[in-house]
Symmetry: C2
Subunit: 301 residues, 2 copies
Amino acid sequence: MNIAIVGAGALGLYYGALLQRGGHDVRFLLRRDYEAITSTGIRVYSINGDFVLPEVSGFRRPEEIGVVDLVVIGLKTWANDQYAALVGPLVGTGTKILTLQNGLGNEEQLADLFGAARIYGGVAYLGANRGAPGTVHHLAAGRIILGAMLAEHTRDATQLAELFSAAGVTCTAVTDIARARWEKLVWNIPFNGLCALVQRPVDVLLAHAGTQELVLKIMREVIAAANAQELTEPIPLEYADELLEFTRAMPTSYRPSMQIDRAEGRPLELEALIARPLAAGRARGVEMPLTAALSALLDLP
Amino acid sequence: MNIAIVGAGALGLYYGALLQRGGHDVRFLLRRDYEAITSTGIRVYSINGDFVLPEVSGFRRPEEIGVVDLVVIGLKTWANDQYAALVGPLVGTGTKILTLQNGLGNEEQLADLFGAARIYGGVAYLGANRGAPGTVHHLAAGRIILGAMLAEHTRDATQLAELFSAAGVTCTAVTDIARARWEKLVWNIPFNGLCALVQRPVDVLLAHAGTQELVLKIMREVIAAANAQELTEPIPLEYADELLEFTRAMPTSYRPSMQIDRAEGRPLELEALIARPLAAGRARGVEMPLTAALSALLDLP
């Protein structure tokens, strides 16, 4: 299958490399890593075993890639205004688009441009950071949960999940991608938000009774907002405790992406990750005072 | 009158200099500024007019100062475990002790050591920072509200207030110093806490709708906790709006003391300024979730 990777950060490089290793024709749209990757390929340092792809197809412009069967999007969400320019040239009649981006609103923005029928959303539980150009460090997890935007394409979602599974990614298809997105937000909002704000890794927040309690309270706010959205089934309150356990098992000093973005002076994914969930909660009458506080503090110039 | 200044930071230097200029025998207990002040005196850069005191009595040890009529304490509250060592040698039969420190618990700790009858508490609305050794910059306000710990000494509190007034400080005596302390906490908790957390001055918080709303919500939490403490009269909710107006009139880029302490790597006055008010609220059944969040985030190692 022809696959284009748009947004070749840690996530795009990691899944793209696995798909290429799995036998697909993968074409990476690159900016920072173009020189390194087109000359020496991609090097993956992974908890599942390191590997190198010496030959990788890298491109600077989507027009050079042309129409593909599948577009996998790993862009930072603040770059979504470039969807038309970056994804448009890759889309033909049969092209499917899978966004693995964080937060809310990505599928809807893609559907506005390319029609809902080809849009799939995925939630990636991946701990990975970029290293030197052309290298990616896979530190934890890697599972993807994905679904079709339209219910009648559930079978195609299952086939997409099988594509990833065959490439070595634990991947399941679900009928309610919105629920999977909200589940991930239960982790993302407190940990991405608080770690970015205080510039401390997740284990420091969990080691302090006060901030662990704050994480739990924010998780409960997000669960309440999620359960006001008419999901196929509610997220149980105990899910917050499960996530704390999951997080305790993560590598020491793990830094969520927003913490790294802020430390390196890049824009933050505040809109998709925090502002939209907050607005979605409010729209259903669920106030989220701690989430709102976090949102405001991170948004300060 | 013989007056000892213990804790000669910006506040101690400023009020001590005014009292000396007003004709009192003021003795400064000094550490950082000892050399500068004993050789060239104190220089005050003030919105009310600059002045210099070329001759100032500075001491390194309280035993060298001896017993005085009045001890004025401007220590950081995290140094309160040094009360006995620093204040003890200054106290004789008729000595009064006035703490101008921030937060809750200072009068009680002094009363445990020296008896409640001689203890006075004051709340200083002073915008001042230390400059080079021996210099202090008075940027805003300067008013003191003070009161006796024991109601039967209200007349002495009035005399203390007159002492300050005669030296050029706007100063009033009140019967309920606890209420004055809580009133100041309504400002201190949001502004000291949030500015320290995000390392932005007060005007940046007020210029952003989200953080201004957060400031207001924290103020309302503090007012609710205050009004559960059996004050002589409740603090009205509109007091929060008055404080926002007061703050808008402050100098551009004004940094509260806790913001400066954190920027310079010093300990924070978290116990007196945030933890004790939080505990006092909880003890009366008032939850303060945003204040608790702020407390936890500032307390992270």
